[in-house]
Amino acid sequence: TLNSDYPWILNHDHSRQKEIADWLTMEIKDFVGYISPNKNEIETRNRTISKIRQAIKQLWPDADLNVFGSYATDLYLPGSDIDCVVISKNSDKENRNSLYSLASHLKKKKLASRVEVIAKARVPIIKFVEPESQIHIDVSFERTNGIEAARLIREWLDDTPGLRELVLIVKQFLHSRRLNNVHTGGLGGFSIICLVFAFLHLHPRIITNEVDPMDNLGVLLIDFFELYGKNFAYDDVSISVSDGKPTYIPKSDWKDLNTRGTFTLAIQDPGDPSNNISRGSFNLRDIKKSFAGAFYLLTNRCFELDMATFKDRLGKSILGDVIKYRGKAR
């Protein structure tokens, strides 16, 4: 039936809401609640990380293991990888010998199966699955920028109501369209967060303090897709997120940027103003088209349900066809 396709609407029917935007707001909250990990999952994750940390300290007493990426900021979808980094006080561990010795140490301790050592990449990593929890883990070495970014994102989440909810919806949307992988020109997690963060801090109703974003997630989600799917001037405008104050900068004013007048997304790295964190997202054409598509899907659904009788609305989902969630059941 319909309900098994959209499990987050089970026992959460909002079809009698007077305003369709309020129905969408409630459905967004239901979906976020549904995909958020429960206590058991959080405990399993923490136990797994601490087992691996202990094993690393056993091999290298001067080293520690840090978690970054979506796991460190609670912005992950079910089944996503955990990104970790090994930092050591004395010696640089980012060399081929350390990569292979850690891989075989973890295998010997029965903490890693399906191990891949990717030594020649720009960022050398070990990928494996922890056998007991079946969690996928990526370990990189001696790079602190990921930890810094995670700290910054946690600050943004604290001062920006609605950021977490909208990021999770946009992530799931891009994931269902296979547009969230930087290796294939999609949008990476940090770029998605920056787009939503800038959107929320520049929205007319929010800068004037008229609305609480948590009460308006539905209309804000549509406004987000409208901005980045229909209106944003990717050729001429870049986004800056430094000092926790998002602004736009004309591309012509960003001296180190060489994409002026070309259709590319440009987001200034808060840690390095010369770096464009979204330079890998070369498939912007499909990303923009998919955002515009989400805008039309959502607004058409709102028009359709607004005209329908309460009987026809019962058990319906507004978000369902937009986010196409096909994850494992929780």
């Binding site: 007319p204 008229e210 406004d223 409208e226 001037a233 001429d236 591309k251 028009f303």
Partner: protein, 88 residues
């Protein structure tokens, strides 16, 4: 010529000639406004334009040529018109 073009479109909700009543953005562009409206002000220094990147106006109100090739017939949320009455 498309025969539909001849039919006059008119929205009885917002008086626009760009869409019919069934497809009026005001059906979904509805905000729950805070009870306490005393704190409202328009901080000009925090307004940025999605079309030219400069400060002081919203993208829909930009005097420069539109950069995006997707049309914006009905206006978007990034418009002076999207503010509540006292701020306009």
């Amino acid at each position: 010529q498309c025969p539909k073009k001849w039919k006059k479109m008119f929205c009885t909700l917002c008086n626009s000639k760009n869409h019919s009543r069934e497809r009026c953005p005001s059906i979904w562009r509805v905000y729950v406004v805070k009870e306490d409206t005393q704190k409202q002000s328009l901080p000009m220094h925090a307004l940025y334009c999605y079309n030219c990147g400069s400060k002081g106006h919203f993208g829909d109100d930009c005097p420069k040529r539109r950069s995006s090739r997707v049309p914006n017939e009905d206006g978007s949320s990034f418009s002076g018109d999207n503010l509540s009455q006292p701020l306009k």
